[in-house]
């Protein structure tokens, strides 16, 4: 199969999976859902690591470094703050 068709297939299927799961998230957890999914979108970090470490040119290294910093803030901050919020949701014993 053509590789571009392949990635589009993955893209479309993942969107369907996303719709199926997210519609089941209760409104009470919508804020943690946003911050948690936001942390997941920091996955761009992976591309950033390759750009920052490959040393093709100073320019790409600098761009890569900036991307690593941005994406890491997104990932670390996102997962941590979600954790902090979710721990507060509880029932009384």
């Amino acid at each position: 199969m053509d590789s571009i068709v392949m990635v589009i297939t993955i893209f479309v299927l993942a969107i369907f999976v996303g719709f199926e799961i997210i519609t089941k998230v209760p409104p009470t957890l919508h804020t943690p859902l946003m911050s948690g999914s936001n942390a997941i979108s920091g996955i761009t970090l992976i591309g950033a690591l390759i750009s920052a470490g490959s040393q093709h040119s100073t320019l790409t290294t600098v761009l890569g470094l900036a991307a690593v910093v941005f994406a890491t803030i997104n990932v670390v901050g996102g997962f941590l703050v979600t954790h902090r919020m979710l721990k507060m949701f509880r029932k009384k014993d």
Binding site: V7, F11, A14, I22, P26, G53, T61, T72, F79
Partner: protein
């Protein structure tokens, strides 16, 4: 490490993301879900660091340390009331990272003397546009929520026209980039134009519409990651990005429905003016009953059921802990207390729930609109704190009103309504609220937190 091993690790990471999001479908499993997501991310990062293309680790290490420190400080220090602006800011960083990664990937190819394929340049253009719009849009949203700039809708003359032009120009530049990928400067011009578009898109959006915008930017940050995944031909980016994209779209849709407004209306900063809108004098004249904490305290004698309706005002006054104390006090008197949460109460989806959870209110006391509305008739006292448009009966009764058709909490059906508010100033919709003038409504003009504290004292004394 062989490519197939890396790809299998990415597959495992994607599965962990999906399982993590699935965990968020219930408060009991949510903490574990978030940890699964974080594990997926860690796995993806570790495996990527084994990539043969990475020669220098110093730069990466610097980036990871600096980013982790900034992220961790934000996450630990931030107050729960400020959560909307922080999510906005993090969204922006995600978008910004996509812009840089796609740009670096393009430059690398050109330096290596490879002519990029059309699919690659299309994806690069998309990353640049979505990423830049996300970054600047999020920064404006952050500035509005943080109070750095006015929360009001700013509409400049010719703004709609300018937005259309900027949109067309950025798409045109993307096409130019696809035709002439060697001219890498085109990419940065495209990013510049898209940045201006991002700013203009969010500037006209006013305070109470913020939940829609934050949800939408959340979706964009996911789509930006997915577009970068197309650039790099990386499945885990595509999967994670589209999951987040879908999540943001769903939330955007829920928010729009809860305000009975179309997405176009929100995005273009349009608030349809009502035709037969009454002036506030007509509605309020001589009908407002201002009251004191002692008078309200008497309402609770013999009451069996109380519903508390929080709005953005509760967040502004940081009154969530005082509200919790009030609820506990009433419960100790044998009164049933529940909270009615409107989907757009606050400045982001679920904002009120997080605040009340912070104050140790059990999550099953927080009721959604559809669930609690039929119970207002059996409610003795409804306490509205810092909410306005979401309890305005005009939405139900006047089809010409700007909020006509918006689903509201039917607090006016309760036996008594107590409204805690600083003044009679209108809410975001800019219209008077006949609820305040109803026979069974008592107005308690005060700061949200002070009002609740006084009320608690009064109940204890009575």
């Amino acid at each position: 490490m062989p490519v197939s091993v890396v790809n299998i690790a990415y597959l495992v990471a994607s599965v962990l993301f999906i399982m993590g999001l699935k965990g968020l479908t219930h408060p009991r499993t949510a903490v574990r879900g978030n940890l699964l997501g974080a594990m997926g991310m860690l796995l993806a990062i570790v495996v990527t660091l084994w990539d043969q293309r990475i020669i220098s680790f110093e730069i990466i290490l610097i980036g990871l340390v600096v980013g982790s420190a900034i992220g961790a400080i934000f996450a630990v220090k931030i107050q729960m009331t400020a959560m909307p602006q922080m999510v906005a800011l993090f969204n922006g960083f995600g978008g910004g990272a996509s812009v840089f990664v796609a740009g670096a990937a393009l430059i690398e190819l050109i330096i290596a003397g490879v002519h990029p394929q059309t699919e690659f340049t299309i994806a690069t253009g998309a990353s640049g546009i979505i990423g830049a719009v996300t970054f600047w849009g999020s920064l404006v949203a952050f500035a509005k929520l943080q109070g750095v700039m006015t929360e009001k809708s700013i509409v400049l003359p010719g703004q709609q026209f300018l937005k259309v032009v900027l949109g067309i120009v950025s798409v045109g530049l993307a096409v130019w980039l696809v035709l002439n990928p060697e001219l890498t400067n085109t990419y940065w011009i495209l990013v510049g134009v898209a940045s201006a578009l991002g700013i203009l898109l969010v500037i006209p959006i006013g305070g109470a519409d913020m939940p829609v915008v934050i949800a939408l930017l959340n979706s964009y940050s996911g789509l930006a990651a997915a577009a970068t995944g197309f650039v790099l031909g990386n499945n885990v980016l595509i999967i994670a990005g589209s999951l987040v994209g879908a999540s943001g779209v769903i939330l955007t849709n829920i928010m729009c429905k809860a305000m009975n407004r179309s997405l176009t209306n929100v995005l273009f900063g349009i608030m349809e003016p009502g035709e037969s809108a009454q002036t506030s004098d007509e509605v309020y004249e001589g009908k407002i009953k201002a009251t004191s904490a002692d008078e309200i305290a008497m309402l609770f004698d013999g009451a069996r059921r109380v519903v508390i309706v929080p709005g953005y005002g509760m967040a502004v006054a940081q009154a969530q802990h005082a509200v919790r104390d009030l609820a506990n006090l009433l419960e100790s008197k044998g009164i049933e207390v529940e909270f009615a949460i409107h989907p757009v109460a606050g400045r982001m989806p679920g904002h009120m729930n997080v605040l009340l959870a912070e104050a140790n209110v059990e999550y099953d006391k927080l009721k959604e609109m559809d669930e609690i509305n039929p119970t207002f008739q059996q409610t003795d006292v409804a306490i509205v704190i810092g909410a306005n448009d979401v309890v305005n009966p005009v939405a139900r009764e006047d089809s010409n009103s700007p909020i006509a058709g918006m689903p509201i909490l039917d607090v006016d059906k309760a036996r008594y309504v107590v409204v805690i508010k600083r003044s009679l100033s209108p809410g975001f919709a800019g219209i008077p609220n006949p609820l305040f003038a109803k026979d069974n409504t008592l107005m308690f003009f005060n700061d949200g937190k002070k009002a609740i504290v006084e009320l608690i004292e009064a109940i204890k004394e009575s």
